[in-house]
């Protein structure tokens, strides 16, 4: 199909401009935000109707003393890993903008992201041993595992996307200072997943 036949100046079937791609990504992330808002709202509705608001007596969480507490310390460390991965990704993107490959920082980002998933997995196993699971511990277990499961899945997908960027960049150096929409959009997604985690971490582990 020669472009001479398609004499249009309208952008048919050509890649959308980087700014347009970014716009689309933001719309998609808003939608993702509503997904997590739905899950989190569900969690609080259940918890507050069952146990009362946090300022009311008897609202201690977890509701039952025999249920394990969430490992706040370990997860705090894990949160540091995830937040750092956002920073390393940003450094990598700036490096690309300055005409360098950014591969080193990208690799570090993958490592940090993967570490987060592994530690989260470890935490799941640990809690499972302690008697908390999808079907154990009532709404406490249900909410924790479904919400962190959804988030963990987003992180895992993010790691795969970054790996894809890494492989493309190392094979073809396709990200140039002027043109790197894929990298920029994956970065946007990654920062989003990061921000969602900070919110989830606060609400699930601290409130």
């Amino acid at each position: 199909m020669s472009t001479a036949v398609l004499t249009h100046d309208a952008p048919a079937h050509r890649g959308a401009s980087p700014a347009t791609c970014k716009f689309g990504m933001i719309i998609f992330l808003i939608s993702e935000g509503m997904l997590f808002a739905g899950l989190i709202a569900g969690y609080f509705v259940l918890r507050w109707t069952a146990n009362g608001f946090p300022w009311q007596p008897g609202s201690a969480w977890p509701p039952d003393a025999s249920l394990p507490h969430l490992p706040v310390l370990l997860t705090s460390i894990n949160t540091v890993f995830l937040v750092s991965s956002s920073i390393t990704f940003h450094i990598s993107e700036s490096a690309v903008q300055k005409g360098r490959s950014g591969l080193g920082w990208l690799a570090l980002t993958i490592l940090l992201g993967a570490t987060f998933v592994v530690i989260q997995g470890f935490e799941w196993v640990h809690l499972h041993h302690e008697g908390l699971w999808f079907d154990k511990g009532g709404i406490y277990g249900s909410s924790f595992f479904v919400i962190t499961g959804f988030h963990g899945m987003h992180v895992a997908i993010g790691v795969l996307l970054i790996t894809w960027c890494f492989l493309r960049q190392s094979a073809t150096r396709c990200f140039t200072p002027q043109h790197h929409p894929a990298l920029a959009n994956v970065a946007l997604y990654w920062h989003f997943v990061d921000v969602v985690w900070i919110i989830l971490f606060t609400l699930l582990y601290w409130v």
Partner: protein, 587 residues
């Protein structure tokens, strides 16, 4: 001047059309928004057929409970019919699948997938959507979700039978509903279908904001585009909440969680809140594009500018915003706090105001116009009048004391069908008659169209109007056999009237299908602009070539410049500058 602008691309079209592609790239994995729109169109028509058949089975059972369905009864799965006669559990499955299919697989895909895809780039002067690959992915996600929902019929235990609203705990506890697999497949289908909707909506918003042709300011956009824009925003915000709920439901059924199960500390009411937080915006998702389509047809066949263009836009925005604040009107009987219930009553009545504004504007458009009763116009006018009936019954139900009595009765079913069939489906039919020439390059047959319209209109009212009376007479929704209730026996003749009407509707649809088949083969070739309309899709050949516009059009004014004083022609396409002396409506 006008006609040359409108027709000149024809010459270049011949250069366009010899882009040859294989069958696979042309029809199955295409990046052309027009073909993707047609993919949606045909797939949704198939589902309309399935959903319609399910409805007829439902009506058969209600008119003649427990009698064998002739011929096809024996082919139905054992979970639905035994010896050809529908069993109560199977009846619930039929109702559930009918509504689920009609909402998620017919009305949304036709309005948003088919017309949205086809019209948005053409009407804003773009060559395609912003993300063509995402567009095609969204179609195939829809197909996958379609396979999953149809697959539920063959699941062990049968299809889900908990209604399209899937209220917990019935839906969440496998021991209650007996269809763990079917109900889970329902959840999966809803989830995948949601992904498809979100992908499409992301694409639409991005396209409308970023790819408008020069001069196509937001307030020059045709109302169809506006309506799809607002709809897409509603989709992006509302659908993920349903996805979250569907995921929780799936987890309750398969992972042993207890979100909606009281036994584990969960709350059945949480389901209702999540579902209706999505559900009410959803009903506007299904009517706004229909309003947009009708707003396009009515001025064309009245040869007058749309009355109150900006008011139409603001009304849609108001509907979009208010739509998120009224979901509690579905839950008046859930035991909610009475003050809250009053607040939801008021917000619901308020949302009727922008709906009424739109209605009056349509009437204002028709008022003293040179009305041409072509088939699209007939359907569009029927859309307005049926929507008014549905909107009025909505106001009844918005008032808590009334709703306590009519909730979960056939009054609601009447309301739903006046807004969704009399509203959305009538607008869809009108739009098919209106844009078919553009889509396929053939005119539909006008007498057959009129016959289709007339019979649909009569049978529609015959089917659904008596449901108001049934509901006020106390007939509950989702009961397999009204005759077992003493107080409903005297109403049975009304049920039979409904069923006769429904069968009439079923047969009438064949006139429509026949018209499509006949016209595709023998219809007269469609000119570029058969209705003398102004929007940009009519400035290119029917069907438009690959890439839509040979040159990016420039837009000089709004879309509704009909019968402009001082012009020879009674229409003025958006890409034709007006002479200085013309008094335009828009800027």
């Amino acid at each position: 001047m006008i006609s040359t602008t409108a027709d000149s691309p024809l010459v270049e079209q011949s250069a366009h059309s010899h882009v040859q592609e294989g069958f696979f790239r042309k029809y199955l994995w295409t990046f052309d928004h027009k073909m993707i729109g047609l993919q949606y169109f045909w797939t949704a028509l198939f589902f309309l057929f399935v959903g319609g058949a399910l409805a007829l089975a439902v009506r058969w059972q209600l008119a003649m409970p427990g009698t064998e369905i002739p011929v096809i009864g024996r082919f139905l799965p054992q979970t639905i019919a035994v010896d050809g006669a529908i069993v109560p559990g199977g009846y619930n499955m039929l109702v559930t699948m009918h509504a689920t299919i009609m909402v998620f697989f017919v009305v949304m895909p036709i309005l948003i997938g088919a017309f949205g895809n086809y019209l948005i780039p053409l009407q804003i002067g773009a060559g395609d959507m912003a993300f063509p690959l995402l567009n095609e992915l969204s179609y195939w996600l829809y197909v996958v979700s379609g396979f999953v929902i149809l697959g539920a019929f063959f699941a062990p235990g049968g299809a889900p039978g908990t209604g399209w609203t899937a209220y917990a705990p019935l839906s969440a506890v496998a021991a209650y509903n007996g269809t763990r697999v079917g109900q889970s497949m329902w959840g999966i289908a809803i989830f995948i279908n949601g992904l498809s909707s979100i992908a499409g909506a992301t694409n639409y918003i991005t396209t409308i904001v970023n790819l408008r042709a020069p001069g196509m300011k937001m307030f020059r956009m045709p109302l169809t585009v506006w309506s799809l824009f607002v709809t897409a925003i509603l989709l992006v915000l509302a659908v993920p909440v349903l996805s979250a709920a569907a995921a929780m439901l799936f987890a309750d059924l398969n992972l042993g969680t207890s979100f909606f199960k009281p036994a584990g500390g969960g709350q059945p009411l949480l389901w209702q809140h999540l579902f209706w937080f999505f559900g009410h915006p959803e009903v506007y998702i299904m009517i706004l594009p229909a309003m947009g389509l009708a707003s396009e047809i009515i001025p064309v066949f009245s040869r007058k500018p749309i009355f109150g263009y900006k008011a139409m836009v603001y009304a849609m925005m108001a509907i979009g915003v208010l739509g998120f604040m009224v979901w509690g009107h579905h839950m008046f009987v859930s035991g909610m706090n009475l003050t809250l219930s009053a607040a939801f009553s008021v917000s619901t009545m308020v949302i009727a105001v922008p709906s009424a504004i739109k209605t009056f504007n349509w009437l204002g458009t028709v008022w003293r116009g040179s009305i041409e009763f072509k088939t699209p116009m007939c359907f569009a006018l029927a859309f307005v009048s049926m929507f008014v009936i549905g909107g009025l019954s909505g106001i009844f139900m918005a008032s808590t004391p009334v709703d306590l009595f009519v909730h979960h009765t056939y009054f609601i079913v009447a309301h739903i069908h006046y807004v969704l069939f009399g509203g959305s489906i009538f607008a869809i039919f009108g739009a098919v008659y209106f844009w078919f020439p553009k889509m396929f390059g053939k005119m539909l047959n006008e007498p057959l169209g009129k016959l289709h319209f007339l019979l649909t209109f009569v049978f529609f009212n015959m089917t659904f109007f008596p449901m108001h009376n049934l509901g006020l007479g106390g007939m509950m929704r989702r009961i397999a056999d009204p005759t077992v209730y003493e107080h409903l026996r005297q109403l049975q003749p009304l049920n039979q009237v409904c069923t006769i009407g429904a069968m009439g509707l079923g047969f009438t649809t064949f006139i429509f299908i026949w018209n499509i088949i006949y016209s595709l083969r023998n219809g007269p070739a469609a000119p570029a602009n058969p209705w003398h309309a102004n929007t940009l899709e009519w400035t290119v050949p029917s069907p438009p070539g690959h890439g839509n516009f040979p040159h990016t059009p420039t837009v000089y004014h709004g879309a509704y410049e009909y019968s402009v004083p001082g012009l020879e022609e009674d229409y003025l396409p958006q890409n034709v500058p007006a002479p200085d002396h013309a008094r335009l409506e828009s800027h």
